[in-house]
Symmetry: C3
Subunit: 372 residues, 3 copies
């Protein structure tokens, strides 16, 4: 067999092309420049080729416009000046969202898994399966599981005793959903994630760690998306909860009894320790660590790699380890840069003060003599 | 199919109820308050409902007693004053351990996997299987594997050539145990963990990284528990070793040739680089990173997110990155908060010293004139 | 069944022995000391037993020579003085690489997977399979996949629609390769890794996160090795790219649209956010975090746990969080140790200055009086 031929880009499967003004109409957007050009594909500004439609999420990146090979770009009102006379554009309210819609126009027809239960899937007793579902090869569905209408269970998935999967879910290959876990509707779980593993709880007695049974469960509400190789532990009793609309990136650890509020976003490799509660609309950067048993309010932003060890009030922006208000953190980081210089200054000052002391001694000694 | 009905809590499967004084007897504990109340379930203080028995691990959390709906609480002697006249209690030596026993009383009958080898499991030549074992659907057991009495291999597990699993182990779905790995008795390995992947070792020659064969193995001793999606690499030669009774949380990375002593506790997302040795009774907080080729003594506590780059003496408590003695670290963190102010102070002092110099010049100039 | 008998070490399967001078010849090395001794195995200096050949990668570790039980050691020219008259040695240019060759001499015959397609593997329509391949039990190969000559797909692997695997690859148990991912030749992917999961991209509209389709792919070039439980997301469109010869350790996260240059080394638990580009020959220590949308030049070294938030020039060495030039970082860390003392010094200086002011006031008051 010859060495693999690589196709350039991913768009080649579905050669379509559209006129820019048509796309603008589809997006409820306004054309700036030439609306008659032909768009053959979509791409990022850097990767774009002639004929591509790209987008500018943020005027901060408008420098990319100089080098791009894209034929047109989706922008918001604020970037109009940066774009004018350089490149054709579609002006919309939310370029990100508009671009998502355009991407769909050019998306290769998606790979629909076969409907029904693959003959090799092992399905236990008392399993209830809805309409229009797909259960892939070598998946194991234990007794008393419920899988609702329209959900897709890819191959090699394990779903434990009495777990419940809502409607229109996508459970990717090699996910593990342990016993009694409850998953809402339209939930997406990527490959390798483990939902409902035992919480990490031991009682120390005479130097030996005795396992505390973890007999609770996990509740994943509607419209949650969970990345690849994530771990979400079951509660000691009660439930670990991910509220609706929250999005979790790859390799995140969520410990037992954690509750995460609605519409939060948790970037990759964050770790949240046991029983901590996070409010709604949280934004956690990558690799954030949060200790157990604390409360984090609503609308909190936590910068990447922060280490959070205390309660956080709603609407806070925090960073650093140990985490503190971001403005304070920036001030400390800035002052840290001056510290080596400060230490030198201190040495100099000490010498100057010694010199001053000597001068004063000089003055006072003869002066005293002269007085007496 | 209707939208899923969610049961509240996890206890509903086994409605039991017991009298508080009976539970106290079972725990060798002493009742404080009314021993005749009926306990219908167990729960954390926050999540408790009327009729629940909860527990207070630490008097530090006694504030939770004000709001709890629990009917009684398990406490230690030190919390008696915090509880008296507020809520019925059982006084024990170790509330954590006592609570674990109570949880068992109320635990839904656990899901016992079927005994025997599932017909779809692929079992190689020369495999030795003990009594009372379970091997789940679609598990693959390669040639010459040994699985001892009472162990449970859940579905979709892979066990490589000549690996050995002790007695009474629980190997959860989708674990990979690579060739020649040795696992002791009563070991629990949660889903997605990989034991015995190749160590990360290359020899750099003319800019190319050449793979160094990793032909050693991994030894997991008795009573170890390993969380979900953990990775433990095989040694270059010899063995990576996890000593007995050590507990490892989710998403931990243990590199080749590492040795971790007995009864240690490693929280989630820690990473321990190659050939490092950790003594017994270590406690690592979440997201700790430890460089390779160092020695960490016995009874060492390492705070979450610490970065350890040097040997650590026994009985140390360290924190921060780079890690240092925790007390020193606290002092530095506290002083860091004062640094922006210190920089302002320094500016002010410089001005004051300049002013003093001028004053002295003022004094000495005329004085000198007057001398001559 | 009796409790497991544990064999000591991993070498017992293949008892071979060789004369030191023969091994030296095989390595193009020079014998120092007695070339006639018999070598029965290979081992690290610490773990070595009588008869073992070990190696000293770096003269920095020459202290280990005092305690080792090894019978001989492979060294480079720079360690000759440290070794002479203590232990027999083979002098080579690159002890690491030479040791790798010796390890092969003593390696237990590797476990060759059976050639061909296991009868339980599910192979879709239009799949093209090369010569001398192996596809293990319960692997699922979707439609239109290409697998080139000599590649080994271990059991329980999932390969998605239209993915391409080059020649002589090793895809370990429970890897997931999602649809349309392209993998080059001689690529090794360890268990549990997920290649081609969706990038983490949403457009926020009225507080709801709308998924942006991730329709790009991933390209893994020749000679890349990927550790266990790694996640590499597919691009939003276009491709996430790992260039040839790059080595990635366990539990690393690589987000959508990232490009990593040739021959780079990424240690465990690093996270690289979306669209960041890293040049060739990069060296990332463990747990490094890199924000999205930045450029990192060639030959950059980033110390463990660094947090990188800005572009990095070629040939830089950076560390800390936020990351800065390593020398500057070391200076700041050193000065931080002095900060508590500095704060005390500042207090003392303020007092001294106040005292000086008083002295001067003392001097000037009468002096002024005397003038007038």
């Amino acid at each position: 067999m010859k060495s693999m031929q690589r196709k350039k880009g991913a768009m080649v499967d579905k050669p379509v092309s559209k006129i820019l003004s048509e796309i603008a109409k589809h997006l409820n957007g306004k054309v700036l420049g030439d609306g008659n050009i032909t768009i053959a594909g979509v791409s990022g500004l850097r990767e774009a080729r002639d004929g591509d439609l790209s987008f500018l999420a943020n005027s901060r990146y408008s420098g990319l416009l100089c080098d791009t090979k894209a034929s047109a770009v989706i922008i918001s009102e604020e970037s109009v000046d940066a774009v004018r006379d350089k490149i054709s554009a579609i002006i919309v309210k939310n370029p990100d969202l508009a671009f998502a819609k355009v991407v769909e126009l050019f998306t290769p027809s998606s790979i629909k898994p076969h409907k029904g239960v693959h003959p090799t899937a092992v399905v236990g007793n008392g399993v209830k399966i809805g309409k229009d579902i797909s259960i892939g090869a070598y998946s194991v569905i234990e007794d008393c599981v419920v899988i609702d209408d329209g959900s897709v269970i890819y191959p090699n998935v394990y779903i434990g005793f009495s777990a419940r999967i809502g409607s229109d879910c996508l459970i990717y290959p090699r996910v593990v959903v342990r016993e009694r876990v409850e998953i809402g509707n339209r939930v997406i779980i990527h490959s390798g994630s483990v939902i409902g593993s035992d919480g990490f709880g031991y009682a120390l007695l005479n130097g030996i760690h005795h396992k505390i049974p973890q007999i609770g469960s996990v509740l994943i509400e509607d419209d949650v998306e969970i990345g690849a190789n994530v771990t979400i532990d079951r509660a000691r009793f009660d439930r670990t909860v991910i509220r609706k609309g929250t999005k979790i990136d790859n390799l995140v650890q969520i410990a037992h009894n954690v509750v995460i509020g609605e519409n939060s976003v948790i970037a990759a490799q964050c770790g949240i320790a046991g029983s901590t509660r996070i409010g709604k609309n949280a934004k956690l950067g990558g690799q954030v660590g949060i200790v157990g048993h604390i409360n984090i309010g609503d609308n909190v932003t936590i910068a990447a790699q922060a280490g959070v060890s205390k309660d956080v009030q709603s609407n806070s922006v925090i960073s650093g380890a140990p985490a503190k208000p971001h403005k304070q953190q920036l001030r400390e980081w800035a002052s840290l840069k001056k510290l080596p210089e400060l230490i030198n200054d201190m040495k100099a000052l000490k010498e100057q003060i010694e010199a001053l002391k000597s001068s004063i001694d000089e003055i006072t000694k003869p002066s005293k003599h002269s007085v007496f």
